[in-house]
Structure formats: C-alpha cells, structure tokens
C-alpha cells in the first residue's frame, strides 16, 4: 500500500465495546489517525480509555466495529501492570530487549530521555520516572510509524515531561508518523503539546443520551 499524506495510518469505524464485567462502555466510535497528527483520548475515569487502546492493539475484542492500520509499524506502551521484575535487569537490558539487532546505547541516549549513566541502573530499584523513560525510549527506538501511548506522562517530573513533549513533537514533525495517546485534560490544554484533535470518550458512552451513534 502506498501511503500519501491523505492516507490515514489508522482507521476506526463504528467501534463499540464493553467493560470486562459486560457493562456497555462505548458505541459508535469512528475516527481517522492522519500522518503528522496527535490524537488525544480523554474522558473521566472508567470511560474505557485504556480498554480502547487494548482493543486497537488486538489484546481485547470489540463488540462491534473495525480497526484497520495502514501498516504493521506500530509502537505501543501500556500502563505498568507490575513494578518489580523477577530477573535483575538493568535499564540497558530492558532497552536491548525491545530493539531488533544489536543494542546501541548512544542511540538510546540520543533521544534525550535517558542519560548514559542511567543505563546501568537496576530496573527493580529505579524510580517510577526512570522506568517510564526507559519504556518510552524502548518504544521510540523501534521507530514505529504509529505510536500508541497510555498515559505516558505518568511518574514523570516537569523537566522530563518537557523533554517528552519535545520528543513527541519531533516524532510527528516529518508529517509521516502519528501519535494516539490517552492523557488527562491538563495535558491536552498545555501549550507545549497541542494535539491535532481530542476524542472525549464520554461523548461516545453507550449509556449516554448524547451518544454520537
């Protein structure tokens, strides 16, 4: 498939899904993720933001609708399920697991999130922010065309958030890649990272009278 600037990288049509307990969450969700775009998914707790990302990534099944990627070059970072890992990995080990071929520490630090001296830290004793930066660096090093992030600013201090905003802006700057991310309202209104569009998931609630079916 030949991609042009007008070809969406991700197409979602008439998507409906339920919570694991069977409670209807979202119905009639449709959008196109265009190259160069940053789409933020917002909404109150329990509206299905993280569930939506899992459905997009094929980890969960939708009740109805379709999700189509233009190609398979997709990087996904979910929220942390556990903090501790049994194997005593260093942050460099974690990065090398996610990168095809030989791991290049210089390429990892060049992204600007991690410093060289942080690579030797143990995953299990690193701070929440250091772990989050490692996972973000790992997913960025795979050079995906579409980046899907679930609350990437979690655990990050203001300085690191600033660095991540810059990294994300650079990511879409060439107009060929796009980002879909779950984030909170405060970030969406931030001047540093203005998304091209915002999807307020509460407006697609199956139980809401103003559902945009």
């Amino acid at each position: 498939m030949t991609l042009t600037a007008a070809t969406p990288l991700l197409v979602v049509r008439d998507l409906a899904f339920d919570a694991p307990d069977g409670r209807p969450l979202v119905a009639g969700l449709a959008y196109d993720l265009m190259p160069g775009g940053i789409v933020a998914i917002a909404g109150p707790n329990g509206t299905g933001k993280s569930t939506l990302l899992k459905i997009i990534m094929g980890e969960l099944k939708a009740a109805r609708g379709s999700v189509t990627f233009a190609n398979k070059s997709v990087g996904y970072l979910s929220q942390l399920h556990n903090r501790e890992f049994h194997i005593p990995l260093s942050l460099a080990d974690v990065l090398s697991l996610g990168v095809p071929g030989r791991f290049n520490p210089a390429a990892a630090t060049a992204l600007g999130l991690l410093a060289a001296e942080e690579l030797g830290l143990a995953w299990n004793t690193a701070s929440g922010g250091e772990r989050q930066k490692t996972l973000l660096t790992q997913v960025l090093m795979t050079q995906p065309q579409v980046l899907i992030l679930d609350e990437p600013m979690n655990h990050l201090d203001n300085v690191t958030r600033g660095k991540l905003y810059a990294v994300l802006r650079d990511f879409v700057a060439n107009g060929k890649r796009a980002i879909l991310m779950v984030c909170h309202e405060k970030l969406i209104t931030s001047d540093e990272l203005r998304p091209a569009s915002i999807i307020d998931l509460s407006k697609f609630s199956s139980l809401s009278s103003d559902s945009q079916n």
Binding site: N82, H86, I87, L89, D93, S96, L97, L121, A122
Partner: protein
Amino acid sequence: MQALLSIYAWTIAASTVLGAALALLGVQLAARDRAMQTMCIGQGAMLGVLIGIGFFLSFDAPPTLSAAGPFALAFAASALTYVVSERIASRHGASTNTHFAALFSALLAGGYLISALFPALENHMAQRYFGDLATISRSESIAALMMGLVILTALCWFQRSITRDSFAIAILGSKASSTRTGILFSLGTLVSICFCVQIVGFLFTVACLFLPTSILSFRRNAGLKGHLVTCALIAGMASLSGFTASLWFTHLPTVPTIVALMVVFAIVIKNLAGQRLYKPA
C-alpha cells in the same frame, strides 16, 4: 570411585546438563510469576505417570507400551492442567497463585488416591517425587542428556525473544505471546516438565527450576546475562558435585544432596557477586 564414575558417566553428564537447562527455564517461568502453575503442571504430570504405570502394570502390557504409555498420559494430564490453570488465570486476574495452590492440592490428593487404588504404585510414587539419579538406566540417562541439550540450546537461541515476552507479561500485563516462539515456549515447557518428572523426579525438577533464580534475584547488581549464566552454572555445578558426593558417601541420597549444595552455591555466589560488582555511588 573411578569405576563408579565410569558407570554413572552418562547420568552425571545428563544431570549436569539437565540441571543447567532447567535453571534457565525456571528463570523465565519465575519472571512470568508462573512458579505455582509449574508446580501444578508437574503434579498433573505426576498424576498422569501414576495412572499410566498403574494401568499398564495391571494389564501386563508389552514393555514398549509400559514405557511410552505413562509418558503419554503424563503429557495429556499436564496439558489439561495447563489449560485449566490458564483459564483460571484469565478469568480471575487477582490472586492467581491462590487458585493454583488450590489446584495443586486437588492434584496432590488425586495422586495419593491413585496410589491407594494400585498398591504397587507406592514405590513408584516415592521415586517420582524424590527421585534417585543412581537408579536411572543408561538409555534414560542418554535421553535426559539429549533433552537437556535441546532445552539449553533452545533457551539460549531464543533467549532474547523469550525474555522480552516474560517482561511484557510481567510488567506490561500482556497476554502470553501467540507467536511461534511463544507457542514453542509453552509446549517445550510442558514436554520438559513431563519428561523430567518421570525421569529425574519432581524434587530435582522443581529445585533446578526455581532455587538458583530465587536466591540470585536478591542480588543487588543487575544484568540479564549474568543472572542467566550464574543460575545455569549453579544448577549444573550442584548436580555434578552433589551426585559425585552421593557416590563417594554412599549414605547420602542423590537429589537432596544436590538440592542442599544448590542452596549453598547460590547463597555464596549471590553474596560474592554482590560484593564484587556492586559499587555504591
């Protein structure tokens, strides 16, 4: 002593290689928090082996069937245990180890019930639980050596993708990978556990799987390759020296001696590695 060593050369080689291979497998299973599930699968295999031996002893089956039948039943029982435990884990994400422990107790009771139905099984049951490497035949030793080499090679070859899956399952909550490597890992784990429970016993299998990685996970210094290599070395060294010691001191049982040495080696190496490599800022 030299005569004894030459008699048991294949068994010594097999236990050394199989011990190292199981230690590498155990690192990945522990990383996925599947230790208790592995105990269930091992106990499921035990149940299958006991049913198989009891059944084929009762009907005076031909030798080939008597050997292959229990292994086939062990595989079927452990596969069923795996499927049931995976369903339990997927239906109720929290406290899976409690569910696995409940399943283990049911399977343990099942094993004892089977041994009560076939009284000739009591000796077999003790043998399968605690093992005695000195009683393994030459052909079984060669088969165990081959199995150990296959597991070792596969785990080294696919180390990176298997560790990546383990990390994604444990930290990011991903489901077990449905890629070729992910399926091979699950299938290989089932076959390895069935084989090892039947040939070297439950205790040797579980100890090699989880003892080295459990103790070494307390190390303060981090490093994936270091952890994998030291776990394999500890299990291999303990199997080699424990078996040799039990030949030298005839009153020492083989597997408990190996397990005791494994604990000592793991604690010593954990402390030595920690002191040598950890540099406070």
